[in-house]
């Protein structure tokens, strides 16, 4: 089943599909955050692995990106999800174990919380860190 068929039953926006240009065979903007776990399960059943989860601060919202890829031949699919600052998003750790650290990293840098995550913690930033450094509003303290 192709990525387009996998996304058949979900509310989505189909974004530009151009591997030569941006490195993603397919990209979609998912409308409902509740769908993400179900969708991850479908991807896993089709033999995809989760390449990474990351985010971009769009200044009025956070855009999460789940990148799925398939072995052996490249089939990289980007699933975008727009969420509010400090929003709760269902965790996909029950589907992919690698999501544990990926989601922790996004929480650490962007403050997005993942509900159902067994051990959501600040992963890379030092102890006593305040704020979420990869938000555009975050500024480093002057010495």
């Amino acid at each position: 089943m192709s990525a387009i068929e996998l996304l058949d039953s979900y509310e989505k926006e189909v974004l530009e599909q151009n591997y030569e240009k941006n490195g993603f065979n397919h990209s979609f903007l998912l409308r409902k955050k509740e769908d993400v776990v179900d969708l991850a399960k479908k991807f896993k059943d089709e033999g995809y692995f989760l390449e990474t989860i990351t985010a971009v601060d769009k200044k009025d919202k956070i855009r999460l990106i789940y990148i799925f890829n398939k072995m052996p031949k490249v089939h990289r699919t980007a699933i975008y999800l727009d969420v509010n600052y400090e929003d709760d998003v269902p965790s996909v750790t029950n589907v992919f174990k690698s999501a544990d650290w990926f989601e922790s990293e996004v929480y650490d840098f962007f403050g997005v919380k993942f509900s159902g995550h067994p051990n959501l913690k600040r992963l890379l930033t030092p102890e006593g860190m305040e704020g979420y450094p990869l938000l555009k509003s975050w500024k480093a303290e002057e010495d």
Binding site: E51, F109, L124
Partner: protein, 368 residues
């Protein structure tokens, strides 16, 4: 005497952040019962430098030397990921000679990385001699890098549109000597290494199943040690890798020994690639003309390369200015290390060193 009573319950051992076998600053909190590990927690972040934030206030060109400072033992492979991503966005194709130079340098880098890994891995397990043999071979690679790039480790050699300088005749002479030596050296070292003591330490511990490779997003020699045939150079060919005849070594069981074996075989495959590249390298320019100030067109770009540790993905978001809007590395060792806490329970403390070593982590790459 009832020995059960004398075993301390809830006893924790801190391995690291300063520990010789973690090769950097990694902390593993081990809960032990005697010598046996009950559970473990990996604590990251001791080498965190906030590079992804820093990138947003630096120009694309200023970030180039930073790429060397993630995985400092295979720095040019990381440069390639970044340069490749920008070239994709700008639509620049490097001249053919530059592609050959890149392949030669990247594969030398891969060999150097595996040699360093094998040497340090064996040192952790108590074998000193192979370390010296392998480091002597690696030293010659560093000498070649110094000849061409002026640097031994943080080379800053790849540029958008090609490479910074042409290969010199002296380099080819050194390379020729190296290629003549390396196969013999590897065979020799392997007979040195594979004693009964070594085999007892690495065989049948740290099993990783094929399912876990998918589940934990493992790539590189760690995935291939479990028999998963996945290598970006073959499965998503970039540059001119499709022109070369080489194999992807695979393990069967997925234990520490298989991962060791895969890396040793990969060295020989990289040698084969270099031999073919040297035989067919064309004359011509070593770099395309590229803009001095790089501005990527607005949009998102993702580019993947195979580093010595696995799949490196460079993700750039551009808003059309000369600074990246978002700079993200999907680095292989980060995912590869995430399986450690699952592998350790049930093993002895001394096996922790073998299992962690077989994963092959470089901490600055994980902590960014």
């Amino acid at each position: 005497m009832d020995t059960e009573k004398h075993i301390l319950k809830d006893f924790y051992v801190n391995m690291g952040p300063q520990h010789p076998s973690t090769h950097g600053v990694l902390r593993i909190v081990l809960k032990v019962e005697g010598e046996k590990v009950i559970s473990s927690e990996t604590v990251l972040g001791y080498a965190h430098r906030g590079v992804e934030k820093m990138a947003e206030s630096k120009t694309y060109v200023q970030m180039m030397p930073v790429m060397d400072r993630f995985d400092y033992v295979s720095s040019m492979l990381f440069e390639w990921g970044y340069v490749g991503c920008m070239e994709k966005a700008l639509g620049i194709t490097p001249p053919e000679r530059a592609e050959y130079i890149r392949v030669i340098m990247a594969e030398l880098n891969r060999i150097g990385s595996h040699l360093l890994w094998a040497g340090a891995f064996l040192l952790d397990l108590g074998a000193f001699t192979p370390f010296l043999w392998l480091f002597d071979a690696r030293e010659r690679i560093l000498d070649m890098f110094e000849e061409v790039t002026g640097q031994r480790m943080t080379n800053n050699y790849f540029k958008v549109g090609g490479v910074a300088d042409d290969l010199t005749p002296e380099f080819f002479k050194m390379l020729d000597e190296f290629l003549k030596m390396i196969r013999g050296r590897m065979a020799e070292t392997e007979t040195l290494i594979e004693s009964i003591i070594f085999l007892e330490r690495v065989k049948d511990i740290g099993f990783i199943s094929k399912e876990d490779v998918i589940n934990y997003s493992l790539t590189g020699p760690v995935a291939r040690g479990s028999g998963v045939n996945y290598d970006i150079r073959k499965n998503e060919p970039y540059s001119i890798y499709h022109k070369f005849d080489f194999e992807i070594p695979l393990g069967e069981k997925g234990d520490c020994y298989d991962r060791y074996k895969v890396r040793m075989k990969e060295v020989i495959q990289s040698v084969r690639i270099i031999e073919q590249a040297v035989a067919s390298i064309p004359e011509g320019p070593y770099a395309e003309k590229a803009p001095k100030i790089i501005k990527l067109p607005e949009g998102e770009y993702y580019f993947a390369v195979e580093t010595s540790r696995g799949l490196l993905g460079v993700y750039l978001v551009s808003d059309g200015t000369s600074n990246p809007y978002r700079f993200k590395l999907r680095d292989p060792a980060f995912s590869n290390l995430s399986i450690l806490d699952t592998l350790l329970p049930g093993n002895k403390i001394s096996d922790v060193v073998a299992i962690l070593g077989s994963i092959d982590v470089v901490i600055p790459e994980i902590d960014r």
